[in-house]
C-alpha cells in the first residue's frame, strides 16, 4: 500500500489525488475565515484539479488531526496533501512527518498559511474567506507539480575547528575535546586568552581573571585532543557541512617551537623595546621577541619581524646568541596547513571602540583621559604599573576620578547599539579605584543597565562604597579652567539631568568606558566562512531568539562577542552551547539536508557561464572540457538565484521549480476555478 502510494507519487503517471485540510486553530482561524465553507468549496470547485477530499478540523496539528490525514492517505490513496493552517515555519515539519508516517513522501505535502497571513491580519470575514480560498487554490496548483524528494545525506567529519582563542573559543574547544573528539583551535595572536587575559578582576564577583582563566588555558595547551594553532589565520574555507577543507596560514614565529623551552632569555636580551598596543593596550612595552604575557599558552615567543633590528639592519641576533637550545630560526617561513573538519565554531571576538573619535572627550589629547582597557592594565597586578592606579606621569595617584559611560555606544554619531558590558565594567572600575586609591569616584551614565544575576546587587554595593552617580551623558572633558578651583584639573562638563543644571566637575583622571565593536575585518571573515553580517558587522545568527548559535550556513556556528556584545558568563554559555550543537552532529555521524537545491540539466546548458559568478557559496563549477556548468548539491544552499538567472532555463530548483511557482500564481489568481468570481 505504502509503496503503491509512493509509486503513484510522480505527476507523470496517473493523476493527482489531493487532500485538503483546513484548520480552525480553535477560533484563531475559524473566527474570521468560514472554514466550513472553504472546505466545502475546495471539495467542489477544485475537484477537477484533483482534490478528492477536503476536511476542516479544530486543531490539525493535534495528534487526532494528524491521524485524520494519515488515515486518508492510506484509505483514499492520497498522493498530495495541502494543509491550510498556520505558518509553515511553525508546523511544516509536523505535517510532513505525518505524511511520511503514512508512507507518503514528505515533500508531497504543502502548507498554506491562512492564520498569520489571513485570519490574524484581516477583519472583513467575506474577504478573508475569499482570500483563504485563493491561497488554497494556489497551494493545490503548486502541489500538483511537487515530486517526491529524498533528503541529501552527508557524513560528518568528527574533527572540529574553533576560530578564536578567547574565553568563548576556549570553552567550545574544551567541551568538544573533553567529549573525546579532535579540535583545531586557531588563534591570530601569539597566545590564547583573548581580552579576558588582559583584565584584572571580573564583575560582579571580582574574582581575578587570570586565576579563573589560566587553568582553562593550560588545559587547552596540554589537551591530547586539541591541536593549538596560535599566530595563525584561516585563509580559505572549502566544502560544506560535515566536510569542510580549511586552509590555515601558520605565520612564521621565527622560533622552533619544539626546541624552545620558553625560558625567556631571548626577551631579556633583546635590545629593542616596542610599545605593546595589543596586550598592554599601549600602556606598556614589550621586546621585539616576546610572549605577550607570562601565563601565555603556548609559552613560546614570536619575533616581531617589522620591529626586529636584525631584519632592519642585518645585525644583532642577540636572541640567537643567548638561546641555549638554539631555537631561533631567522629564516623560518610561513606554513600553509590544509585541515579537514566537519563543523566550525567562530568565536572571533570584538575590537574596542577607538575613543579618539569622540574628540570632545580628549582621549589622545589630554594625558589623563584613559580608556577602559588601559584601566584594566593599570589595575592589573601584572600590568605596567604593578596594579597601581596612577596618572599618565606614572607616579601620581588620582584624588578624584570620573568614569564616563556609553563612550561610542548608544550614539548615532558612532555606534547606535548598547555595548552591554559598560555599565558593569564602570561599576567595577569605581570599586577598584575607590579600593586602591581612596579617590572620590563619579559615574556619569544615561541609563544604568545591571540586568543579570547579582549585577544590581553589585551596583548597590558600589553605591554603599560612596561612588557618586550623575545621570547625564558627559558633554565634554576639558583642561581649560574657568575658575581657580579648576586649575590643573580635567573638568567634566555635563548636565546633571536629575537636577536640570549644567555642572563642571574637576577631576584628576577620566576613565572612558569604551564600547565594543565588531572586529575591523569581521565582514571579510564572514565572507571567508560564507555567513552573513549585520550592517554593523556582527555575525547574524540563524534566529535571534530560537537559534542564536547556528548561522544560515550549515555547519558554521558562532559564539561570544562575534555575534554581539556580551559579558563573560554569556560568552562561556554560548561557547558551550555551540559545542553541544556540534557534538550532537558528530554523534549522529551524518545529517540530512533539505533537498531544496539547484541542479543543471546538462543538455540545456549552453555554457554561457552567466550563473558562474552568482553563487556566494562557490557551489557552481564550470567544466571547460564539456563546456557545461555543474552545481555541487551539498555546497548549494538553495537560494535559487542561479535558477532565476539562467537564460536557457537549464537550471532547476527542486522545491521551488518554475512550474511550481507559475502554477501557484495561476492558482492564487483563481484561473483554474471557474464559477467563482475573483473576490478580494
Amino acid at each position: 500500500m505504502t509503496e503503491k502510494v509512493i509509486a503513484n507519487a510522480s505527476p507523470l503517471d496517473s493523476q493527482e489525488r489531493i487532500g485538503v485540510y483546513v484548520c480552525h486553530c480553535g477560533t484563531n482561524i475559524a473566527g474570521v475565515v468560514d472554514v466550513v465553507q472553504v472546505a466545502e468549496w475546495a471539495a467542489k470547485q477544485l475537484k477537477h484539479r484533483g482534490v478528492v477530499i477536503a476536511r476542516e478540523y479544530k486543531f490539525m496539528c493535534s495528534s487526532l488531526g494528524q491521524e485524520l490525514i494519515e488515515k486518508d492517505i492510506k484509505e483514499l490513496g492520497l498522493n498530495r496533501v495541502i494543509v491550510a493552517a498556520c505558518s509553515p515555519h511553525l508546523h511544516e515539519k509536523t505535517f510532513r512527518t505525518a505524511c511520511a508516517n503514512a508512507g507518503l513522501n514528505p515533500f508531497l505535502c504543502e502548507m498554506v498559511s491562512i492564520r498569520e497571513q489571513v485570519s490574524w491580519v484581516h477583519t472583513d470575514k467575506a474577504a478573508a474567506t475569499a482570500k483563504a480560498k485563493a491561497v488554497i487554490s494556489g497551494g493545490v496548483e503548486r502541489v500538483r507539480h511537487h515530486v517526491p524528494l529524498e533528503p541529501i545525506v552527508v557524513p560528518i567529519n568528527p574533527a572540529t575547528m574553533v576560530v578564536g582563542g578567547g574565553i568563548a573559543g576556549i570553552q567550545s574547544a574544551l567541551e568538544i575535546a573533553d567529549a573525546g573528539f579532535h579540535v583545531y583551535l586557531v588563534e591570530r595572536e601569539p597566545s590564547i586568552g583573548g581580552h579576558m587575559a588582559q583584565f584584572d578582576k571580573t564583575f560582579p564577583t571580582l574574582d581575578c581573571a587570570a586565576c579563573i582563566l589560566t587553568p582553562k588555558m593550560v588545559s587547552v595547551g596540554s589537551h591530547p585532543n586539541i591541536t593549538l594553532l596560535t599566530w595563525s589565520e584561516v585563509e580559505k574555507v572549502d566544502g560544506y557541512v560535515g566536510n569542510f577543507t580549511v586552509t590555515v596560514r601558520k605565520k612564521a614565529r621565527k622560533i622552533d617551537e619544539e626546541l624552545c623551552t620558553g625560558c625567556g632569555i631571548c626577551q631579556e636580551k633583546c635590545p629593542r623595546k616596542i610599545i605593546d598596543d595589543v596586550y598592554e593596550a599601549g600602556l606598556g612595552y614589550r621586546k621585539a621577541v616576546y610572549t605577550p604575557f607570562p601565563q601565555a599558552v603556548p609559552n613560546r615567543p614570536v619575533i616581531d619581524v617589522p620591529n626586529c633590528t636584525y631584519y632592519e639592519k642585518g645585525t644583532c641576533k642577540a636572541c640567537e646568541i643567548f638561546c641555549a637550545p638554539k631555537a631561533i630560526r631567522f629564516d623560518q617561513q610561513d606554513e600553509i596547513l590544509t585541515l579537514e573538519v566537519g563543523n566550525i565554531i567562530l568565536a572571533t571576538g570584538y575590537d574596542l571602540f577607538d575613543a579618539r573619535r569622540v574628540t570632545n572627550y580628549g582621549y589622545g589629547r589630554l594625558p589623563n583621559v584613559f580608556t577602559s582597557l588601559e584601566i584594566e592594565r593599570l589595575t592589573n597586578a601584572a600590568g605596567p604599573t604593578n596594579g597601581n592606579i596612577v596618572l599618565r606621569d606614572g607616579k601620581t595617584a588620582p584624588k578624584s576620578v570620573g568614569i564616563v559611560h556609553c563612550v561610542g555606544s548608544r550614539d548615532r554619531n558612532f555606534n547606535n547599539y548598547c555595548s552591554v558590558i559598560c555599565c558593569m565594567q564602570s561599576l567595577k572600575f569605581a570599586h577598584l579605584v575607590h579600593e586602591r586609591t581612596g579617590a572620590t569616584v563619579y559615574n556619569f551614565y544615561i541609563d544604568m543597565r545591571t540586568a543579570f544575576k547579582d549585577y544590581d546587587e553589585f551596583y548597590q554595593r558600589v553605591m554603599e562604597e560612596g561612588t557618586l552617580f550623575v545621570r547625564g551623558k558627559v558633554a565634554e572633558v576639558t583642561n581649560v579652567p574657568r575658575y581657580e578651583t579648576e586649575k590643573g584639573k580635567l573638568i567634566i562638563q555635563v548636565e546633571d539631568t536629575l537636577v536640570g543644571k549644567q555642572r563642571r566637575i574637576p577631576v584628576d583622571m577620566v576613565i572612558l568606558s569604551t564600547g565594543l565593536e565588531p572586529r575591523k575585518d569581521s565582514k571579510e571573515i564572514a565572507k571567508t566562512f560564507g555567513i552573513s553580517c549585520s550592517v554593523n558587522g556582527w555575525f547574524i545568527e540563524k534566529h535571534p531568539k530560537l537559534d542564536p548559535i547556528a548561522t544560515m550556513t550549515e555547519g558554521i556556528f558562532i559564539a561570544g562577542c562575534a555575534q554581539g556584545p556580551k559579558d563573560i558568563p554569556s560568552s562561556v554559555a554560548q561557547g558551550a552551547a555551540a559545542a553541544a550543537r556540534v557534538l550532537g552532529r558528530i554523534e549522529q555521524k551524518q545529517m540530512a539536508l533539505e533537498p531544496v537545491r539547484a541542479s543543471v540539466i546538462e543538455e540545456k546548458c549552453s555554457g554561457c557561464r552567466i550563473c558562474n559568478g552568482l553563487c556566494p557559496f562557490n557551489a557552481i563549477t564550470f567544466h571547460e572540457d564539456r563546456m557545461v556548468t555543474e552545481i555541487n548539491p551539498a555546497l548549494c544552499q538553495g537560494c535559487g538565484t542561479c535558477v532565476a538567472a539562467c537564460p536557457a532555463g537549464a537550471i532547476t530548483g527542486t522545491g521551488f521549480s518554475n512550474d511550481q511557482i507559475m502554477a501557484q500564481i495561476e492558482g492564487l489568481m483563481m484561473l483554474n476555478v471557474d464559477q467563482e468570481p475573483v473576490a478580494a
Partner: protein, 156 residues
C-alpha cells in the same frame, strides 16, 4: 451601483526575512487589506522576472517583491541581484506601456512586521489609484521623468 475597484496584488517574499515579517505582522495582529496574496521563495534572488510578468498577465494589478535588507541577506548578497532585476523589470514594464509603479521592492527584516503591513497597505492604495491593469491594453505610459523619479525612489 458598481463595486469600487479592488486591486489584486501578488507578493513575493523571501523565506528568511520578509516571510517572517509577514508572519510577525500576523502574530502581532497588525491589520492590512486582504488584497495581497503571498508566494514564498527561498530568497528574493530566486525571483525570475517572468514570475512578475506572469502574475500581471494572469490578472494581478500589482506585484510586491520583498527581501532582506541589503547587507543582511541570508544568502550573503543575493538580494542585490533582486534589486538589479527590479530596476530591469521596471524598464521592461515601461516598454510594455505599463506603469513601473505597479511593482514595488521592499526590504523588510524578520523584525519588521509593522513595516511589512504598512508597505502592503500603501502599495495597495497606490495600485488602487492606478486603476485596474488590463495587460497589453494599457496606453497610459508614464513620462520618462516620472519613471526616472520612481527609479530614484527604489530603496538603496
Amino acid at each position: 451601483m458598481t463595486d469600487p475597484f479592488e486591486p489584486t496584488i501578488i507578493g513575493f517574499t523571501c523565506n528568511w526575512c520578509s516571510y517572517r515579517a509577514a508572519d510577525l505582522a500576523g502574530t502581532a495582529r497588525i491589520k492590512y487589506p486582504p488584497n495581497v496574496r503571498l508566494i514564498r521563495l527561498m530568497c528574493s534572488g530566486r525571483l525570475d522576472p517572468t514570475f512578475v510578468f506572469k502574475a500581471l498577465a494572469s490578472g494581478a494589478d500589482g506585484v510586491m517583491i520583498t527581501g532582506c535588507h541589503p547587507g543582511e541577506c541570508h544568502y550573503i548578497e543575493q538580494n542585490y541581484k533582486a534589486l538589479r532585476r527590479f530596476q530591469l523589470m521596471r524598464r521592461t514594464l515601461q516598454g510594455f506601456g505599463i506603469e513601473p509603479a505597479r511593482i514595488r521592492l521592499v526590504w523588510a527584516s524578520a523584525a519588521e512586521g509593522a513595516k511589512f503591513a504598512s508597505e502592503v497597505t500603501s502599495f495597495i492604495e497606490e495600485v488602487r489609484a492606478l486603476g485596474p491593469l488590463h495587460w497589453g491594453k494599457n496606453d497610459s505610459v508614464p513620462t520618462l521623468t516620472e519613471a526616472v523619479i520612481q527609479q530614484e525612489e527604489v530603496p538603496a
